[in-house]
């Protein structure tokens, strides 16, 4: 590693990127409810400044890569070095040790910060339109700013503790925003669920953090003198951990627990679809584009730990692959537009985790960045549709929206193709990278993730095209069946002034312009990661690994499967548009399997039957134990009574009256002791004082 010879100016001002949104959150938390424009303006202005700073950081880190090789092209850039620029400061000293925090500027940070802040900025602007009718508008922007600040803080930090703090703050913001309409029981429950389920993972993360601190004595990722936690991996890899893993592997496993919780990987994925109870911009920002990616980012950040332990990497790969395929199958059978996208998110996150597991860190991060753009686009598009269709979320009650909302349709179309992985949109390149990495992972059983991934590609294309057909093509099926119908997860009426049924309408410009910008990014950003020699993003993010050559087999398979998925979807839903009350054609094709998928593989039920029931059983067992103890007590009591009965007889006959006096004195003593506990504080104080005095005297005299 080359030590940073100079600190670029943007590195010393990196702290501004998270701090500005935090400050905005603080200020708008103090603003009264009616200062809507102020708080929104503040939040948006600040996030735009953060975005500009992030772009500066990106430019700086790109230019830094170019500098020593001036005049050369990217393909010739073979530094094999990861570049860091570090800023350290001491939070406080205690005794002889001090707690150091810091920020790091490296390609990973720059790329992630740019994506997060840009997507956040666009979503903030979009929220202006989407939330315009909500009476808690100010609070909403406060929470959004808090979230953005925490997320950006998590990205730029160079310290696992600060990372964890921001991580929890992100979780808090997510909790607040999912439960934004807290008066709705389902929203409150979803918020609670999200908080608790992710906390399960966070417990592991925290344990890993403590263990890492114990083992290395620092929580800085990198330090100028190369004693950072991530720079001591070789030492850690040599120490024994638990379950036959090395210490590095153990810590990596624990940290991965946090990532599983936050990034919605199996088995902790259950909170993410429920989190769609929040307002749609929140779903787009937090539960699609940025926060859920934090888990992937965490693994990418601590990747040296993972690299030191192949067993953990294998586990990561398999969990990712399994999540990818499971979520994709569930998405096929959902009806709620946001739920489909939610499962799609889980599935795509599975791809990223799989990419990390098979050693393609750059590929996974590339997919993360691209996914951030097109998934935000899709969610915002869905929000626009919901907004236009008067808070309808059931795709079987939509249809033909293309006519009424052309901009939304075309941007959504771009997003769909990008997600499905159609050449030459963003998803094509990034998914191809991940699959290539999976393909090259190994032979035999190690081909498993690749096969599952390919299957996932087919399903992704299928469910996305199903959605497009049902929502945008055909005739509008909403409107008449509305009266008396209870809508699943209906968005809050407060957001919308007109509740009367009618034809959908296009959303205002403040919502469509972000869509267009995101569509442009989704369409063209993929070219930053062209395979073959000019794989810029790969060099940029992970120059330590040699770039791989293009693999035509993978590209061909994936593309063919994607097109097959689109075709299958079109055959089922596109050729003959559905009538208003016609059931899902998939029901006939899949039968019972569809119900299985619709009910999410019965995961919630499984957890209900296992974890929750275990807790109940444990409660019963403890209760039984309690009763047992009670029984013993009662038994002893009976025994004592028996003995005392005998005693009584003995007493009566043998000792009789002489003993009664003794009994009486015992009673008196008992009364005296009972009198001690008279409920008066001062008596207790007297007792304490006298006892202390007596004990002290005894101590001195001894």
């Amino acid at each position: 590693m080359n030590p940073a010879t100079h600190i670029p100016w943007i590195a010393s001002y990196l702290w501004l990127i998270p701090l500005l949104p935090f400050a905005a959150a603080g200020v708008s938390a103090l603003l009264p409810q009616r200062c809507r424009k102020t708080s929104a303006g503040l939040a948006i202005g600040v996030i735009v400044v953060s975005t500009l700073l992030s772009f500066c950081a990106l430019a700086e880190s790109i230019l830094h890569g170019l500098e020593p090789h001036a005049g050369r092209t990217w393909s010739a850039m073979q530094t094999h070095e990861v570049w860091h620029s570090l800023i350290e400061f001491t939070w406080f000293n205690y005794g002889t040790t001090s707690l150091k925090l810091g920020f790091v500027l490296d390609p990973l940070t720059a790329a992630m910060a740019t994506m997060v802040s840009l997507v956040s900025a666009l979503i903030f602007i979009y929220s202006l339109g989407y939330m315009s009718r909500d009476k808690n508008f100010t609070r909403f922007f406060t929470f959004l700013s808090l979230f953005a600040g925490a997320m950006l803080g998590l990205v730029v930090t160079n310290n696992l503790l600060l990372f964890f703090i921001c991580w929890e703050l992100v979780g808090l913001a997510s909790y607040l925003l999912i439960g934004f309409w807290y008066h709705r029981p389902s929203a409150a429950a979803a918020a609670k669920k999200a908080f608790i389920v992710t906390k399960i993972g966070d417990t592991g993360f925290f344990a890993g953090l403590l263990w890492l601190y114990h083992a290395t004595g620092t929580l800085q990722f990198y330090t100028p003198d190369h004693t950072g936690a991530l720079e001591q991996v070789t030492a850690l890899a040599g120490l024994p951990g638990i379950m036959g893993l090395s210490l590095a592997g153990t810590i990596a496993l624990l940290i991965f627990c946090g990532a599983v919780g936050k990034s919605g990987q199996w088995p902790l994925h259950v909170w993410l679809p429920d989190a769609m109870e929040g307002p749609t911009p929140v779903s787009a920002l937090i539960h699609a584009a940025t926060m859920v990616a934090a888990g992937v980012f965490l693994v990418a950040r601590t990747y040296p730990l993972f690299q030191a332990s192949p067993q953990v990497l294998t586990l990561v790969a398999w969990i990712g692959a399994f999540t990818a395929i499971m979520a994709a199958t569930i998405a096929v059978a959902q009806n709620d537009i946001k739920r489909i996208l939610a499962y799609s998110t889980v599935s795509q996150l599975g791809y990223m985790v799989m990419g990390l597991g098979v050693g393609g860190m750059a590929a996974a991060m590339f997919h993360l960045l691209m996914h951030g753009f097109f998934k935000a686009l899709l969610f915002l598009g869905a929000g626009s549709v919901i907004h236009g269709c008067h808070n309808e979320q059931d795709i079987f009650k939509m249809g033909g929206v293309k006519k009424h909302m052309p901009i939304t349709f075309w941007t959504y179309f771009v997003g769909t193709l990008a997600l499905a992985g159609i050449f030459p949109l963003a998803g094509f390149w990034s998914k191809d990278e991940v699959l290539t990495a999976a393909f090259r992972w190994g032979g035999g059983l190690h081909k498993g993730p690749f096969v599952l991934g390919c299957l996932g590609v087919f399903l992704t294309a299928f469910y996305m095209w199903r959605q497009v057909c049902l929502v945008f093509l055909g005739e509008y099926r909403g409107g008449k069946a509305r009266a008396g119908h209870k809508h699943v997860g209906q968005e809050e009426a407060e957001t919308h002034h007109e509740t009367a049924p009618g034809v959908p309408h296009e959303s205002p410009a403040v919502m469509t312009v972000p869509l267009i910008i995101l569509a442009v990014f989704s369409a063209f950003m993929g070219f930053s990661g062209l395979p073959e020699h000019a794989n810029f993003i790969h060099h940029f993010l992970n120059p330590e690994h040699a770039p791989h050559v293009v693999n035509w087999f993978v590209i061909g398979t994936a593309s063919a499967l994607a097109f097959a998925g689109l075709g299958a979807g079109h055959l089922l839903y596109g050729v003959k548009p559905l009538a208003p009350d016609e059931p899902d054609p998939l029901k006939a094709k899949l039968g019972k399997l569809r119900d299985f998928l619709r009910d999410k593989w019965y995961c919630d039920e499984l957890y209900e039957a296992t974890v929750v029931r275990f807790v109940r059983i444990a409660a019963v067992v403890v209760d039984l134990g309690d009763r047992l103890l009670d029984g013993v007590t009662v038994g002893l009591g009976l025994l004592a009574r028996g003995v005392s009965f005998f005693n009584f007889k003995f007493d009566e006959q043998a000792i009789n009256c002489g003993f009664d006096g003794g009994c009486g004195s015992v009673r008196v003593i008992g009364r005296c002791f009972a009198a001690l506990q008279d409920g008066r504080v001062q008596s207790y104080l007297r007792l304490v004082a006298v006892t202390a005095a007596i004990l002290a005297f005894w101590f001195f005299l001894k």
Binding site: A674, D678, G679, R680, V681, Q682, L685, R686, A689
Partner: protein
């Protein structure tokens, strides 16, 4: 010349006076104030130890006295607020009347 023992004896005497008030008086406010006297006695003792101790540059006694004052202030605020609430509830602040915890 004043020795450390003088200060410690004085502090223990003040402590005893405070303890007397705390165990004797019935009025809750006076009890709280007696506790403040005990706090002050402790602070005086700490500062005297600092002044006569072997490591005055560590300032431990002074810092502890400041912490003690802070904690005493917090105690007084909460305690007196409680007294007011108790008065509203029992219509009296005699500590003897508050005995619902009797065993």
């Amino acid at each position: 010349m004043t020795t450390l023992a003088h200060f410690q004896l004085l502090a223990s005497m003040l402590f005893a006076v405070g303890l007397f008030g705390a165990v004797t008086r019935r009025n809750a406010i006076v009890v709280l104030l007696s506790i403040e006297i005990m706090f002050n006695a402790a602070n005086l003792s700490l500062v005297a130890f600092w002044r006569y101790g072997p490591h005055p540059e560590q300032l431990s006694g002074v810092v502890f006295a400041i912490f003690g004052i802070t904690i005493a202030a917090a105690e007084a605020a909460v305690g007196l607020a409680l007294v007011i609430v108790i008065y509203r509830y029992y219509k009296s602040i005699e500590v003897d009347k508050m005995r619902s915890l009797k065993g």
